[in-house]
Amino acid sequence: MSWKMWSLKRSLFVYHVNTGACNNCDIEILELLTPAYDVERFGITLVGSPRHADVLAVTGICTRQAAPRLREIYQATPQPCVVLCIGTCALGQGIFADTYHAGRCVDEVIREVDPGAIIAYVPGCPPKPEAMILGVVKVWKKLDELAAAAKPAPQATPVVEAARQ
């Protein structure tokens, strides 16, 4: 596995984006940093700017007001980055889908900007911290898959070529 993926898995900087949530999921995200679950021992920390982040933890239904801002935040996050949609609202807007201020869903807005974005979904209202940790594990497995798929097939070295001739 390349050193980039190896270090990325062991040091995930998370930036939390609230696109119109009731704050329930936001509190549960902070719970992951408390001594009961303590995800900092895996290298996961909260950072203050999307430019420092590897993971965007998005909560909320993505209101019409928040949509252009979410697009800009995603574009400001350096690749490789992952979007973690946390809570029923971030998955498909839940019971608020027909309200007057609900535009397009979080993943539709992100795919407008980057059709190949990696998006992980954590259901729940709010999701239990164990479910969020399972989301992070799924992200790790997906990053492994991508690293394995991107690795080129081993090529014959010039020494071997010379010996063959």
Partner: protein
């Protein structure tokens, strides 16, 4: 005076009624009618043009505090309720006015009560009531691309109207 007294208990009723007596005089001057209430709160209906002087009296002289304003769309206008809390006496006066659909305007109280600025902007965004005299009537809680003239909390609002109005504006 414990806060957990059930409203139907007869204790302290006389003191509460005592405070309502204090409000009766300014209310009568403003032409207000008591619609409903108990010893903790009461709702009064007022004519549109008499509300602001009464509000000034309640807030400046009777130590009232404007908690918030709420509104609902009725067929021939918008009903706005100003919730005034009297914390020391533990009483809430709800002052109701009916803003007619023809004008859709209510005098702004922001010039002398700066805290009402955001409340009036929100009501303007959602219910379409104008507040002449407001120093900064801009979009507050609806998105920047929300079309004018479409008010979500009005009866008959359909979510499609938003997209239709945006397309019409672009054309």
């Amino acid at each position: 005076m414990s806060m957990n007294v059930h409203p139907s208990e007869p204790t302290e009723v006389r003191e509460r009624h005592g405070f309502e007596q204090e409000l009766e005089q300014p209310l009568r001057r403003a032409g207000g009618i008591r619609e409903s209430g108990n010893d903790r709160q009461a709702t009064y209906l007022l004519p549109v043009d008499r509300l602001v002087p009464l509000l000034r009296t309640l807030i400046d002289e009777k130590q009232g505090r404007l908690a918030t304003m709420t509104g609902i769309d009725v067929r021939d206008g918008t009903e706005l309720i100003y919730h005034v809390c009297f914390d020391r006496e533990r009483f809430v006066a709800n002052l109701k006015v009916c803003v007619p659909r023809a004008t859709d305007a209510m005098e702004s109280i922001t010039p002398w009560l700066p805290g009402a600025e955001f409340i009036e902007r929100e009501i303007h965004d959602l219910l379409g009531v104008d507040f002449p005299g407001h120093p900064r009537m801009e979009r507050l809680i609806l998105s920047d691309d929300w079309p004018e003239g479409v008010y979500p909390l009005r009866r008959g609002f359909r979510k499609q109207d938003v997209e239709i109005a945006i397309k019409k504006r672009q054309v």
